[in-house]
């Protein structure tokens, strides 16, 4: 065999040759560490979670019985637990709808009218709250919604106490103060997840071709008609993409209802409390399977609606 023109002298250049001849080897070497990490730590954990949800918990000994059974899921279907699931779903739905309504003007203005400097202001103005500390944001609302806090002060300064009191007197959602009512929990959820709704919405509105809007007005549609029949349907995938976040995040949160709201339980709180003091990991795991299932259904529907292209 004749020597190569450029002899591969060092290990590095020899390896380079090997990688060139066998690209799959390089791919395997690149992927092995992350696959090991995600596969073992993350997928392994999810599998452990699923397995544990089929175990049961002995109330007398306080121990997990590692035998396959469906009794844990039967317990999950008890009226008390079903009402927790229903409450969480209703909250997630309400938060998603409200965030969409509050987010739309911001996203619409940022996408259609903001230019140059203002574009950057809107972009950072949404991005910074999105990334800034979750706990700090929740804490801010503890200050705001407290009975002695700024909302009560502002209401009495503007003589709108009656409005605040009427809202608090509402059945079911009201309470002694905003910080101890469903209304308060709802406001904080909307605040914390709002940026997640604005961004995909803005991206979707930006993608609506201007030519279609011009065509619509050339054909005699009023601005209102153009909005309802052209802009909104075309921006809908963005709205659905945003709703994936607001819905999923509300389903799994347990800090916000714990700090602001009634003491009524949500799925996240149930998971946390069951695994913590009670040590009932099987029921906690079964509870955690619920948001996974709901999100799988939600994601499938969202994919059909074309929301993934808007992400």
């Amino acid at each position: 065999m004749s020597p190569a023109i450029f002899a591969a002298t060092t290990i590095a250049s020899r390896l380079t040759g090997v990688f060139w001849r066998r690209p799959k080897l390089l791919l395997g070497l690149l992927l092995a560490p992350p696959l090991l990490w995600l596969g073992m730590i993350y997928l392994g954990s999810l599998a452990a979670l699923l397995v544990q949800s089929f175990y049961s918990f002995d109330d007398f000994s306080g121990l997990v019985v590692p035998q396959f059974t469906l009794t844990t899921y039967a317990k999950l279907a008890s009226p008390a637990n079903l009402s927790i699931i229903l409450r969480t779903l209703l909250m997630a739905l309400a938060v998603t709808l409200a965030s969409a309504i509050i987010a739309f003007p911001v996203a619409y203005y940022a996408a259609r009218y903001a230019r140059g400097r203002w574009k950057a202001v809107f972009y950072l103005g949404v991005m910074l709250p999105l990334w800034s500390s979750y706990l700090v944001k929740v804490y801010a609302f503890k200050l705001i919604l407290a009975k002695e806090g700024i909302v009560t002060w502002a209401a009495s300064a503007t003589h709108t106490d009656w409005l605040l009191n009427a809202a608090l007197a509402l059945p079911f959602v009201g309470g002694a103060s905003l910080s101890s009512s469903y209304l308060g929990t709802f406001i904080v959820f909307c605040y914390v997840w709002l940026p997640y709704m604005i961004l995909p919405m803005q991206a979707a509105i930006e993608r609506v071709p201007l030519g279609l809007l011009e065509a619509s007005s050339d054909l005699g549609a009023t601005a209102r008609q153009t909005f309802w029949t052209v802009t909104l349907p075309l921006a809908l995938p963005g709205v659905i993409a945003g709703s994936i976040f607001t819905f999923s995040l509300t389903l799994g949160d347990y800090i916000i209802p714990q700090i602001i709201g009634t003491s009524a339980s949500f799925i996240g709180m149930a998971v946390y409390q069951l695994q913590g003091t009670a040590g009932n990991v099987p029921l906690a795991a079964a509870f955690a399977v619920i948001p996974i299932l709901i999100m799988l259904v939600y994601l499938t529907l969202a994919r059909k609606a074309g929301a993934f292209d808007a992400l």
Binding site: P34, L49, G125, Y139
Partner: protein
């Protein structure tokens, strides 16, 4: 299409932005109040003493240092793993590519409580003790996607031709990585790393599941959560909140400026 926004739209957009920012301003204001037992508004008086009080409180320093340590290690692991995945994904198409991109996103796509309870139920099976290392396990897992998103966006814009040019000029794979790929990826990785750091430094939901019960695994967000549930000197919590806010705010701002040309790809994907 009208070229000027209607007044109603302007007001609603401005109100939306204000709604996002005013609460943070109040956090700053309440750090200076003289009232330590309630959230009375307007504050009865203003003082700067709480900054000195917070500085002297011995229960704040260990959580702060732990949080920095956890964020640092998680970011390092996420940087390595995230870069490796993005390099593989930027190259050839291969079987399971779509599943892999789903797997990377899953830790932040599923609610934090799911990731948390999953790790919580797996850690005892692996016979690991809950400690700061188990916190890092969880944080690194959901930080990978942040680095990955930034790196893969940059790699997509990078022409494959410069890698071929490098090989034609006689560079071996490692030299190409060191002198061609890395300098091009540099700012994207820096931005991704800073965002991952901010995310880890601030994370509380997964942390409450993966941290032990002892004081040795109490991160700053867990300290804050305790103060929210059982408040002591409330303005001190505000001072800490400002520190947490600044520690996450500055890296985010830096990441934005580093990747401004591809900004949509960088900070837009939490």
């Amino acid at each position: 299409m009208p070229f000027n926004a209607s007044r109603g739209l302007k007001v609603a957009a401005a109100a939306g932005l204000a709604f996002l920012h005013l609460p943070i301003v109040l956090i700053f204001l309440y750090a200076f109040t003289t009232e330590e037992r309630s959230f009375a508004f307007p504050p009865p008086g203003l003082t700067t003493q709480w900054f000195a009080v917070a500085w002297a409180r011995s229960d704040i320093w260990p959580p702060l240092i732990l949080s920095l340590q956890v964020a640092l290690f998680s970011t390092l692991i996420a940087l390595i793993l995230g870069t490796l995945i993005s390099a593989a994904m930027a190259g050839a198409k291969f079987w399971g590519r779509e599943s892999l991109s789903l797997l990377v996103v899953l830790p932040i796509a599923l609610p934090g409580v799911v990731t948390g309870i999953a790790l919580r139920s797996a850690i005892p099976i692996l016979h690991l003790d809950f400690s700061w290392i188990t916190i890092v396990l969880g944080h690194a897992t959901f930080c990978i996607v942040i680095v990955y998103n930034n790196a893969v966006a940059r790699l997509r814009r990078l022409s494959g031709a410069i890698l071929e040019a490098s090989a034609d000029l006689g560079a071996n794979a490692f030299q190409t990585f060191r002198y061609v790929l890395l300098p091009n990826l540099g700012t994207a990785l820096l931005a991704g790393g800073m965002l991952a750091f901010a995310l880890s430094f601030d994370e509380v939901i997964v942390t409450t599941f993966t941290a032990g019960t002892g004081a040795a695994s109490k991160t700053l967000p867990i300290w804050m959560l305790d103060e929210l549930i059982r408040p002591r000197q409330r303005p001190v919590t505000n001072v800490v909140a400002i520190v947490v806010f600044a520690t996450t705010f500055l890296p985010i701002l830096a990441a934005y400026y580093l990747t401004r040309d591809t900004a949509q790809a960088a900070v837009a994907q939490k």
